[in-house]
């Protein structure tokens, strides 16, 4: 059972690497913000998986909750910051 959780965590890390492509090569700033948001929501699940693997779930839950709150606040703040900016598009012409 622990091995299944280990491979699930490994697969989740692979999916995070896939989302990292959008965070690196997104045409606009908001695409990068979207990729970072997707990585953060996967990290919340990965932290609980790590807690099960280390058999310290009660400690890792608090870290996951803080990470979820931090992810939400970071996305909200960054999207308010980029709201009035010009030149969000056209930074990289071919999509």
């Amino acid at each position: 059972m622990e091995k299944i959780f280990f491979y699930a965590g490994l697969y989740l890390a692979l999916l995070m690497a896939l989302s990292l492509y959008r965070a690196v090569a997104g045409p606009t700033v908001l695409d990068r913000l979207l990729g970072v948001n997707a990585i953060g929501s996967k990290t919340t699940a990965l932290l609980i998986l790590l807690g099960i693997l280390y058999q310290r779930v009660d400690m890792f839950i608090d870290i996951a909750l803080a990470y979820a709150a931090l992810n939400f606040i970071a996305v909200l703040g960054a999207s308010r910051y980029f709201q009035k900016r010009k030149g969000l598009h056209g930074e990289n012409e071919n999509l």
């Binding site: 908001l30 009660d58 979820a68 939400f72 709201q83």
Partner: protein, 109 residues
């Protein structure tokens, strides 16, 4: 019991896979927000539910409270993920990002 947990976990990973592939392959910023907002939330619900069930296999009061806290994280994400998605859409819309259409690029300003 364990078979059910593994099945729920695999379905959650399937939803996460759909979200990641959708983020990579959709053509437009607005359409990319659709898998990012929905499928990640559903995958988080299923993986977290599987882990909360696995935590309950040797039952005690501490394990019950821990599983309840895991489901509270899911409730928190269910509230905050649509809010974050709506904030990103609002930022893109106010900055004047045009939605994707099927025409070519030459009639763009």
């Amino acid at each position: 019991m364990n078979i059910g947990i593994v099945i729920i976990l695999l379905f959650g990973l399937l939803f996460f896979t759909g979200g990641s592939v959708g983020i990579i392959r959709f053509p437009d910023f607005y359409s990319r927000l659709h898998p990012a907002g929905k499928l990640d939330t559903m995958g988080l619900l299923m993986t977290m539910g599987a882990m909360a069930l696995y935590n309950l296999t040797d039952f005690s009061m501490t394990a019950l409270i821990t599983s309840l806290k895991i489901m509270l994280i899911v409730v928190f994400v269910f509230i905050t993920s649509p809010t974050a998605t709506h904030a990103i859409v609002d930022a893109g819309f106010r900055a004047g990002l045009a939605p994707w259409t099927k025409q070519k690029k030459e009639d763009d300003p």
